[in-house]
Symmetry: C2
Subunit: 263 residues, 2 copies
């Protein structure tokens, strides 16, 4: 894994919030991760974080992912975004406290979707932040959708879009499991971590016919998002951001527990 | 003044915050103004608000308007934006409480500046919000600048850009004085409100050689921003948003105390 070039780092919503407590951040995890990012020395960096218990409850209550059905959802659009701003503020402040020049870039006003996928993005401000040697911080957000009215723009979709659009050197995905397993590790104690995957493995996952990987839900969608990234030649490393030291080592390009996906 | 078509409404920062108290909103004024906007019945609307005591102290402390000079300013860039998000949240929540479908669109990620002026803007999300019959809410913000690194993007510059770009029917500027006076009303108790101005008057103000208007500071810059708007055929009405009823009547197109500038 190269230590040069732009790194896109995702901090999973389930790591930086308390999953079971709506609108509650895991402030200890946020502080620790900010410290690991600072210690890594990686400065050519974009950070994207998820929504966890800030984004999901409201997005679900108002069926944001289903697109516009009725006027009351519009209130949910605003409320979901405001909740995400609140979480983003905690992340940015933790980064600033570590001396990192983090600049929040709210996705709601710079992405336009079509049928749930990014149709266009205004990346000039983000590129300007990078050229100031500062760190843009984006997040999963609500977004306007030319076909459906609005939708949810996941942090993972942003990561993939930026990795491709900015020709990132590598992607690090910090999640709440150790990586990709051959079986669901929550249900199967004997599940084995797959330390190395290739695009072919991701395609098999996508097709649902994988014999080696039996991934479900969040991890399946994550791998689907990452397939074009890996195919474009950008290595993706998935590791447990809930375990101290993983993000530090992953950013440094050092070996740590996780799944590496290479072209 | 037409009651049809898009209206761009500016709520001055000095009206919605307490000027002398850093980071303190005038919540009573915000609530009242949200009520007046709701009562006006105007729905084809974009709202832009200023920063007042939320935006100015940090922007000044870090010399954001001077552009990039040293790394410590980057922290100020983030902190100023986060403070503006906080004020914006209060405005949006007040609008939602009145049943208005307000959607915040943070300017930092959808405008790129050059030498302090808007170079490009990504207005697709804003147009999508309007086509949902919802109300985009923008605000004066920090912005990236291709020449200077970063700068302050005033709410007034956003208003002018949107009025021209969206071919607005009219602009209503809510400020903390009754309108444009022949002399500075703060210093001259005999100052006379100018109820009607033409582009020629604004040009004279800009050139500094006006015999009828002796405007200073904020009002001068405001009129300079509005000159191309009026020249493009969009009437601009300036009224005191601190006085109950002015914004209600102005939005309805009814007569109220203020200065009307017509082509």
């Amino acid at each position: 894994m190269s230590q040069q070039g732009l790194v896109i780092l995702k901090l999973g919503g389930s790591v930086i919030t308390l999953k079971e407590k709506p609108f509650t951040a895991n402030e200890e995890a946020i502080r620790r991760l900010a410290g690991e990012i600072a210690s890594s020395g990686v400065r050519d960096l974009v950070i994207v974080h998820g929504g966890g218990s800030f984004g999901h409850p409201l997005a679900q209550e108002y069926d944001i992912h289903k697109g516009f059905k009725e006027e009351r959802q519009l209130r949910g659009l605003a409320e979901t975004h405001l909740a995400m701003e609140e979480l983003n503020k905690l992340v940015v402040e933790a980064l600033l406290a570590e001396g990192l020049p983090a600049i929040p870039l709210p996705p709601v006003s710079c992405f336009l979707m079509e049928a749930g996928r990014i149709r266009s993005a205004f990346l000039d401000p983000l590129k300007a932040v990078l050229s100031l040697k500062a760190i843009p911080v984006l997040y999963g957000d609500v977004a306007l959708d030319a076909e459906r009215g609005f939708t949810i723009l996941s942090g993972d979709q942003i990561v993939a879009h930026l990795a491709l659009g900015l020709k990132a050197a590598r992607v690090v995905l910090g999640v709440d499991v150790d990586g990709v397993f051959d079986k669901d590790p929550h249900e199967h104690p004997d599940a084995v971590l797959l330390e190395h995957l290739r695009p072919g493995d991701l395609k098999a996952v996508k097709a649902g016919g994988s014999r080696t990987t039996d991934v479900t839900g969040g991890m399946r969608r994550k791998l689907e998002e990452m397939l074009p990234v890996v195919q474009a030649g950008v290595p993706v490393f998935i590791t447990n951001a809930g375990v101290a030291g993983n993000i530090l080592r992953a950013l440094r390009g050092e070996k740590t527990r996780g799944t590496l996906i290479t072209p």
